[in-house]
């Protein structure tokens, strides 16, 4: 759990301006939500991988993927069982369920589940890039620059600060209650919930005590004195940064344009199409790929410029 947090690393991706990364992540999200064609989704997924590799967060990404794959499996399974749309029937149940009719599993439903999973993996992967390569304090600064209210931003930052403390507390309290003979393993769901209540209550009460003390300490350091607030750290913009932000936004714009003109779409139901791209779509795919990929050379250029 502890390793699943932001860690300072000296990679070109970490050194990128947080706004460049946010713009790029936003673009990927727009594309992933607008485009339907599995080939485009696959391309997006493959395009996130080099970034993850260069950022040196492969391990962290893999552990989030492990968890996500379970979710994907669930999506595919549930969609296949529940959705009866689609014309290629692979399996038909020998019985009928009232209201729902005869349960069938269709090729279309499975394909749709797979495509949705791919979309989900893309989204989770870019969020991994966000969490593991943007310093939480930079994220806070970026949010303030985007005119979000300071107090809300501070709440997010404080909760990030206290996650390790909370993990330690949980471990310690669990040890204590187990030493008092509390059985955590075995039993049904009800037993499991009940047996953990002693831990949760102690944890909550401790956190409340902490909260009061944190508030006291903040007050003692002039928090909320109310003459505006300055920020010691700043996000600086160089020419390279601005170029990078613009480049990172372009794929998002492309995605919106494609959505308007109906490119990159795909029909799953009632009968799936052949998975292919039409003429202009090949060009669009190439354009999208190069625009998204441009972040990496730009990152290296930025580092080079910084060193000079």
């Amino acid at each position: 759990m502890r390793s699943l947090r932001y860690q300072d690393k000296e990679t070109p991706v970490h050194k990128l301006n947080p706004f460049s990364k946010l713009a790029w992540i936003g673009s990927v999200l727009i594309l992933a939500l607008i485009l339907d064609n599995p080939l485009f989704l696959l391309a997006l997924f493959l395009l996130v991988l080099p970034i993850i590799k260069v950022a040196g967060i492969w391990k962290e990404w893999l552990s989030t993927m492990k968890f996500s794959l379970f979710m994907c499996l669930a999506i595919i399974l549930i969609n296949a069982l529940v959705s009866s749309r689609g014309s290629h029937i692979l399996f038909e149940a020998p019985f009928r369920i009232p209201v729902m009719g005869i349960p069938v599993i269709t090729l279309e439903a499975i394909l749709y589940g797979v495509a949705m999973s791919l979309r989900l993996l893309v989204i989770i992967s870019v969020f991994a890039v966000l969490t593991f390569t943007i310093h939480p304090d930079d994220m806070m600064l970026a949010m303030i620059k985007m005119k979000l209210p300071y107090k809300s931003v501070l709440v997010i930052s404080l909760s990030t600060r206290f996650i390790p403390t909370l993990v330690d507390d949980t471990q310690r309290i669990t040890d204590i209650q187990r030493s008092r003979g509390l059985e955590l393993d075995g039993g049904g769901l009800a037993h499991r919930i009940k047996s953990r209540s002693s831990i949760v209550i102690a944890l909550l009460s401790n956190s409340l005590d902490r909260a009061v003390q944190v508030a006291e300490a903040m007050e003692s350091r002039a928090f909320g004195i109310g003459r505006g607030r300055t920020f010691y750290k700043d996000i600086k913009f160089t020419i390279t940064d601005i170029t990078t932000v613009v480049f990172a936004l372009l794929p998002g714009v492309l995605g919106i344009v494609m959505g308007i003109y109906g490119y990159g779409q795909y029909q799953y139901y009632p009968t799936f199409e052949r998975i292919s791209l039409n003429g202009p779509e090949w060009y669009l795919l190439a354009l999208m790929t190069s625009l998204l990929f441009a972040i990496l050379p730009l990152a290296y250029i930025k580092r080079r410029v910084n060193l000079d």
């Binding site: 600060r161 204590i176 030493s179 401790n206 902490r210 944190v214 300490a217 350091r221 750290k233």
Partner: protein, 557 residues
């Protein structure tokens, strides 16, 4: 600098005032040490000085508090932040940013200082505290001592002229505490900062303070030069349960016996000079029972290795045996493997290599819940233990887990409540009790199952002297009934007084394991004050393994 006139304060919904009729004046540059039993009003007094009372904690207040010319009733804590810096007990709960640099800048940002000024103050604070090497570190990775230094730096950056520290060392190990206190002394000496320090453990700070204030039941019962109070109010201090350093207790006891001693020693060096005459010619032998008790072995480890999943090897080839009826102290620096070792004794951890057996049973074949009948485990902070709605429930929780019948539960609950003097609190909410009472509830909840082995992990950390002695004499009694006590502790004085055997760990290995007089005498960091004192008199034939005041008195004619 600070002027308090007739200050009386009641917390909301409480009929007893926590501070009554306080009058106090503190001059610029003074180092004031505040002590007294817990619940005496020390923390409340400090909170009045930076306006947390009455602005953060409401209540009924009367009198007048003036700090640096500002009336604290009219000026809020935020406004006072540039005059009064406040450092709290728990380093964890006063750091709000993710890295050290931003932490120190936090207060300055709140005051809307321009970036250049923040940069300058940041640099200054890091240098003053000698923590420039920490500037880019993440706050959660720091040790307790480092965190507390960062907390001081972040407060000093606001350039206050008064620094208040509310038991700043209670969460630290001896080395961290020592470092922090000498740092505070330097701030007072070199920067002329006015210091108000609340402390329980006086032996380390008495020498630095210009003035000692004793608060008891909301009133100032003594105020003056440290030496004067230590000699003139000695009896009252003892009665209040203030932790008078052992050396001063020795001097007073000698005076009671009619031996005249010039002055009151605050450092071991002074003590050696002042007591030289008294020990001249003392040559009594030290008679103590040899520590070994012929009980059967209860806890045994054989070539025990343990590595944490992250790869750190915490225990390296530990083989030891603890017998029935022993009182064993496990000592060592931070991260030397003490807690890791004792967590094996009730199977919270399972050996990576080697074996651990408790009462003849290999822990691999048992469960924590089963072992809980034999092994009780008390952790440092009672708040981590307590969760139930009433003290009664807290105790029956353990008994229920251990599978006692309801009639047995009732009799055991009554028994343990009576023993710990908790009958009148049985229907109270445990977390709202006082610190000492909470500790008793936590202990009672573990001992209700009558385990044969009791493990305590730093139970006395941050505890005032009176509660400490109460707890320890209880443990002593428990051991005399044939049970085994295993105490993880940094507190040399307590160990010297009560343990029979000391195991010293370093880097996951057992360095010394033996009778306490052998281990604790003539060890540099781990010797109690009396031992450091009497070592000087070895040339007169005084035994070199004296550990406590009573032993020292024994060798004198």
């Amino acid at each position: 600098m600070i002027r308090i006139e007739n200050l009386t304060f009641y917390y909301n919904g409480v009929t007893q005032p926590v501070l009554k009729e306080i009058n106090l004046e503190v001059n610029s540059g003074e180092f004031v040490l505040v002590t007294g039993p817990s619940g005496g009003g020390k923390s409340s007094l400090c909170r009045c000085l930076n306006g947390l009372i009455p602005h953060f904690y409401g209540g009924k207040i009367a009198g007048r508090v003036e700090v640096g010319g500002l009336d604290t009733f009219k000026h809020s804590t935020k406004e006072l932040a540039t005059r009064v810096g406040m450092v709290f007990q728990d380093p964890e709960n006063q750091l709000v940013c993710l890295d050290v640099e931003r932490e120190i800048a936090f207060g300055l940002e709140n005051l809307a200082f321009p970036r250049e000024l923040i940069a300058k103050r940041l640099e200054e604070s890091l240098d003053t505290l000698g923590i420039s090497s920490l500037r880019y570190r993440q706050v959660h990775e720091l040790s307790g001592g480092e965190k507390q230094k960062v907390a001081i730096a972040s407060v000093l950056a606001l350039h206050p002229s008064i620094l208040i520290l509310d038991e700043p060392t209670s969460e630290l190990d001896p080395k961290g505490a020592e470092e922090l206190l000498s740092l505070v002394m330097r701030l007072n000496d070199e920067l002329g900062l006015t210091i108000i320090l609340i402390e329980h453990r006086l032996d380390r700070v008495l020498q630095y303070a210009d003035r000692l204030i004793v608060l008891n039941r909301g009133a100032i019962t003594a105020d003056g030069k440290v030496r004067d109070i230590m000699s003139s109010c000695y009896q009252e201090l003892l009665q209040m349960g203030v932790g008078v350093p052992p050396m001063i207790r020795l001097v007073q006891r000698l005076r009671d016996k009619g031996i005249s001693i010039e002055g009151t020693p605050l450092t071991v060096k002074e003590g050696r000079a002042m007591l030289d005459k008294a020990f001249h010619g003392a040559s009594g032998r030290l008679t103590h029972s040899s520590g070994s008790i012929d009980g059967k072995p209860l806890v045994e480890t054989k070539r025990l290795w343990y590595a944490y999943p992250i790869g750190l090897t915490a225990l390296k080839n530990v083989s030891l045996s603890i017998d029935e009826g022993e009182f064993v102290a496990i000592m060592g620096r931070n991260a030397s493997g003490k807690t890791t070792l004792v967590k094996h004794f009730n199977r919270l951890l399972i050996p990576t290599k080697g074996r651990v057996s408790v009462d003849g049973v290999d822990t691999r074949g048992a469960t924590i819940a089963k072992l809980a009948r034999k092994v009780g485990f008390v952790f440092q902070n009672p708040n981590d233990h307590l969760f139930a709605n009433t003290v009664d429930d807290e105790i029956t929780f353990t008994l229920k887990n251990l599978g006692f019948s309801s009639s047995e539960m009732e009799s055991r609950t009554n028994e343990v409540l009576a023993k710990f003097n908790l009958i009148k609190y049985r229907n109270h909410y445990p977390r709202s009790l006082s610190g000492g009472e909470k500790q008793r509830v936590a202990l009672a909840s573990v001992l209700a199952g009558q385990p044969k082995i009791l493990i305590l992990d730093e139970p006395t950390r941050g505890m005032e002297y009176r509660l400490k002695s109460e707890l320890m004499s209880f443990l002593d009694e428990y051991r005399q009934q044939g049970n085994t006590v295993i105490l993880v502790s940094h507190d040399v004085e307590i160990v010297a007084e009560y343990a029979s055997r000391v195991i010293l760990l370093s880097e996951g290995k057992v360095v010394v394991d033996g009778e306490k007089h052998e281990v604790l005498s003539r060890a540099l960091l781990f010797s109690p004050q009396i031992n450091r004192l009497t070592q000087a008199f070895e040339r007169y034939g005084v035994p070199n393994n004296i550990l406590t005041v009573d032993e020292a008195l024994d060798v004198l004619p």
